[in-house]
């Protein structure tokens, strides 16, 4: 194939615009820019939080003030003025709504554009959706069906009101406020998020999903998710994000905490498609997320699956602490970067319990002028017998201006551990494209086919509905109208 033609196709493929860019015009109730103890007190008061929450926030804020933004990541981040951010913003809401018709038509229209089934389709799709629009939960559905089983699935603020004992017991146990700069910031100012509690012996009958969406201009969104899975239970949780097109960078620092007890299993899937900035690297979301789960009980299991296509800067390492004997964790990730996007993402697997197992499959795809890094840690503690890890990190490069980097860390302190890591970096083979061409598939389709095939291993691990969406996202991110 002629080189020019290939370049042209690559250009077309990589130049498609963000499809989900729009701003919903809803009145926002915000508290002005800046961050200090008064603001934190105000956030806490607005949310009518009990005292322990305020103390938690203030403690986190005081610690945050002593910390510096980390610089070790392979990212080039312009300086962030933390006083120039609105830390609280919620769509104005009058009374609690009972039926779908009562939901603000603007909000509904937004979700319709996103293709979120917030009406009867949902029942058919059997998905309970707890929609977070900016910071407050707008509508929680399927609550009754879940309540029957004793499952709690609600917004974080509701949980603070209704289940303060559970929040107090588990919040901050997996990601303590001192953990890192962004975790401390989130702990101080987090606005809302989701709370999931699965009681002992319950298998959650449906996939729980939350759509996060950054909306108001200049609003950092700081959600916090807490999932607690009691013994012998199971839940699959989906998190998906899209954000409207904006010129100014928006800051996003979330925390996800997952606690998995004896013999239970949690699947946590993410599709992240926030605004990545335009072709020239202007605008886009800064995404600094701390996600961590602890496999506390014996034979517990935690799976992370993520498709990352959005954000100007991604800084994200979903991690698992394998504490219970025989516990296991899997991490599957596809990260796509295009134009001027930067991603430094990976995972941490901390083996503490005996006979713990972890698998890491990471696929990075870089295009345009982007940089895509895998950074991961596999640590086997000294007294952890029989740990097993397998890691595979592959990178695919589309174009000669992008970068793909791999920074694995293996820290092994026990002789019985078996740890393997391998990584490859390559571009789409001309022979692969030739093979497709030969069989009548044109080059643009061939690239799409190869990229999708490359990511299949990860996408297959996602729940059905998500897998479809994830594939679409891959196409949008890379293939544009080519399909």
């Amino acid at each position: 194939m002629a080189k020019e033609e290939q370049d042209k196709i690559l250009n077309e493929v990589t130049e498609s615009e963000y499809k989900y860019g729009f701003v919903t015009d809803i009145e926002n109730d915000d508290i002005g820019k800046g961050l200090n103890e008064d603001i934190i007190r105000m956030i806490s008061a607005k949310k009518k939080e009990p005292k322990f929450m305020l103390d938690f926030r203030l403690k986190a804020y005081r610690h945050w003030k002593t910390m510096k933004m980390p610089e070790w990541a392979y990212l080039d981040i312009p300086e962030i003025d933390y006083q120039d951010i609105i830390y609280y913003s919620t769509p104005k809401q009058k009374a609690k709504l009972e039926s779908m018709d009562d939901v603000d038509p603007e909000i509904r229209a937004t979700f319709d554009k996103l293709g979120i089934p917030l009406d009867e389709q949902k029942i058919l799709a059997n998905v309970a959706v707890d929609v977070v629009m900016d910071s407050s939960s707008v509508k929680t559905t399927f609550k009754e069906a879940l309540a029957e089983k004793g499952i709690i699935f609600c917004s974080f603020s509701e949980a603070v009101q209704d289940h303060p004992d559970l929040i107090q017991e588990y919040m901050g146990t997996v990601v303590p406020i001192q953990d890192n700069f962004f975790a401390a910031l989130n702990s101080a100012v987090f606005s809302d998020g989701s709370f999931v509690y699965i009681p002992k012996g319950v298998r959650c009958p449906m996939e729980l999903s939350t759509y996060f969406r950054i909306n108001a201009e200049n609003t950092g969104q700081f959600e916090r998710t807490l999932i607690v899975c009691e013994e012998e239970s199971y839940v699959s949780y989906l998190e998906g994000c899209t954000a409207p097109m904006r010129d100014e960078n928006q800051l996003h620092a979330a925390i996800v905490e997952i606690i998995v007890k004896d013999n239970s299993e949690v699947k946590y899937s993410t599709v992240q498609n926030w605004y990545p900035g335009d072709k020239n690297g202007k605008g886009g979301i800064y995404n600094f997320v701390t996600k961590r789960g602890i496999c506390e009980g014996v034979n517990s299991k935690l799976m992370w699956a993520q498709v990352e296509t959005g954000s100007a800067v991604t800084w994200k390492y979903p991690s698992t602490i394998l504490k219970g004997d025989g516990s296991s964790s899997e991490f599957y990730s596809v990260a796509v970067t295009n134009n001027h996007q930067q991603a430094d993402t990976g995972t941490k697997m901390i083996h503490i319990g005996n006979n713990t197992k972890s698998t890491i499959i990471s696929k990075g795809i870089s295009a345009g002028k982007s940089n895509n890094s895998y950074r991961g840690l596999v640590k086997v503690a000294k007294n952890c017998e029989g740990a097993r890890n397998f890691s595979q990190c592959d990178s695919l490069l589309l174009g000669d201006k992008c970068g793909a980097h791999t920074f694995p860390y293996l820290e092994i302190g026990n002789q019985s551990a078996k740890v393997e890591h391998e990584a490859t970096t390559s571009k789409i083979g001309e022979d692969q494209i030739f093979y497709c061409n030969q069989r009548g598939i044109n080059t643009e389709d061939a690239i799409g086919l190869i990229v999708n095939g490359y990511a299949k291993e990860v996408i297959n691990k996602m729940p059905m509905e998500f897998a479809v969406e994830a594939q679409k996202l891959l196409q949008i991110s890379l293939e544009g109208s080519v399909g």
Binding site: W72, Y74, K382, N383, S395, L397, L398, G399, D400, K401, C402, G403, A404, H405, T406, F407, P408, Y409, L410, E411, I412, G413, N414, Q415, S416, A417, K418, V419, E420, H421, E422, A423, T424, T425, S426, K427
Partner: protein
């Protein structure tokens, strides 16, 4: 325990108070480089574990000791040529000795070297061959990135200098033996320069030995420039005692079509840190970087390497293997850079480790930083134990377990040894490693002063 600021201040004092001695006998170029390096050191200081590149090696205990420093050549009271004899019988080399980082004053003349080849001390070279020396000295070792390198450059007085002129092929390897012999605890700073010109070929073996049991800290930096079409081998054999600290930084620059093989074998030493940096600065270079470390007791080894593909069409192969026993700790960091437009690069990296005890620790960081798309790069790292099936196979054939384990370990290590391109040396190292794995302390010399460690 002294904190890092005290240590850094001590070095600053040493530099300022000993300035006269430092400048004496060194050429202007050396002193100019020294001045800049000291400024860098003032900024960087001795790296602590907060420094990502020294995450796994704590240098504070290594530096926190009242060492003596020789800022001028000390005469040796005995003839080292008499005391030291390399016991590799078939290993016929051109041997020179260095003592405590200084080029030994009574080295025998190397009569068998081809015409034009220069082997001498760095101070001498700076004076006698300024054209060659000044073109290369301080050009490859970057002082603004690593405090240890900056410190070396600031304090460097002597070391060995080897020059291989255009088209000259040295058949017999040149063997450089670094001897540490002192009646007091000593910090030695050694600065070496190797220049291999176009179409030349040379093999250099560097052996480190301690002749007395005192605590030593060696901070050595070697700069190597390999010109077009040249072939160069560098073998480093580290065999000191448990109370020593080796900081060994090597910077290799390669020009087009050059071929470099380096093999670093760490047999013994209290704390060993090898910084190995290669830059493939022109097209069609080939680089092979190998290393092996066999550690037991509470020894520590850290191999920190970077291979920089600055230009297209180069090939690099990196392979490090280690066996860790007792409370030994080890680290490996390998970073492959592929610069923008360094297309058609092939870079492979691998690190395998055997852990033999529950107290041994290994930390490995195999990294790829790739900014070009038409490349083939891979890396892999494994940590594990011996293959139980292989063990069973041997046991089934009547070999007892201990012997079988040793055979497997030996086979594991042999993969690196067989890369050595000097046959007698390969055999000798084979034997040394074999002995070492059997738990016998191997001595590679029959020197009169055997240390007890």
């Amino acid at each position: 325990m002294a904190d890092i600021n005290t240590i850094n201040k001590d070095f600053a004092d040493l530099f300022n108070q000993g300035n006269e001695l430092l400048l004496e006998g060194s050429s202007d170029v050396m002193n100019e480089t020294r001045k800049n390096a000291f400024q860098d050191f003032s900024k960087l200081g001795i790296p602590t574990r907060a420094n990502e590149n020294y995450k796994y090696t704590n240098l504070i205990p290594a530096f926190d000791h009242p060492y003596n420093v020789n800022l001028r050549y000390q005469n040796v009271d005995v003839d080292l040529n008499e005391i030291f004899q390399c016991d590799v019988p078939e290993l016929d080399t051109n041997m020179v000795l260095l003592t405590n980082g200084w080029y030994y004053g009574n080295n025998k003349e190397l009569t068998e070297l081809p015409k034009g080849v220069i082997v001498c001390g760095v101070q001498e070279a700076a004076e006698k061959y300024p054209e060659i020396f000044n073109a290369h000295y301080g050009k490859y070792a970057k002082t603004d990135e690593d405090g240890v390198v900056a410190l070396n450059t600031a304090l460097a007085k002597d070391g060995f200098f080897i020059y291989v002129p255009k088209g000259v092929v040295i058949e017999k390897p040149i063997q450089v033996v670094n001897l540490l012999r002192s009646d007091r605890d000593l910090m030695a700073t050694q600065r070496n320069l190797i220049v291999v010109e176009e179409n030349a070929q040379a093999k250099i073996i560097v052996c480190d030995h301690t002749l007395t049991h005192h605590k030593y800290l060696t901070n050595s930096v070697t700069e190597v420039n390999v010109a077009r079409n040249a072939i160069f081998d560098l073998y480093t054999l580290q065999n000191q005692h448990l109370n020593s600290v080796i900081l060994n930084s090597t910077f290799i620059r390669q020009e087009s079509n050059s071929n470099v093989l380096s093999n670093t074998i760490s047999l013994y030493g209290g704390t060993i840190r090898n910084n190995h940096h290669v830059i493939l600065d022109e097209e069609h270079c080939e680089n092979n970087t190998f290393g092996m470390y066999l550690m037991d007791r509470d020894q520590h080894v850290d191999n920190f390497t970077s291979i920089d593909h600055a230009k297209p069409n180069c090939l690099s192969n990196e392979h490090f293997k280690g066996v860790m026993d007792d409370q030994a700790s080890g680290a490996f960091a390998g970073r492959i850079f592929v610069r923008r437009d360094a297309q058609q690069t092939q870079a492979y990296q691998s690190n395998n480790n055997l852990l033999l005890s529950n107290d041994a620790v290994i930390n490995t960081k195999p990294q790829l930083v790739i900014d070009a798309d038409d490349v083939k790069c891979s890396h892999g790292a494994t940590v594990g134990q011996m293959d139980e099936d292989a063990l069973f196979y041997l046991r089934a054939r009547g070999i007892d377990e201990k012997e079988a384990r040793q055979m497997l370990m030996f086979a594991f290590a042999h993969e690196i040894i067989e890369k050595i391109r000097v046959e007698p040396l390969k055999e000798r190292i084979d034997e040394l490693v074999d002995k070492r794995l059997r738990g016998e302390i191997s001595k590679c010399n029959t020197c009169a002063i055997a240390c007890n460690h």
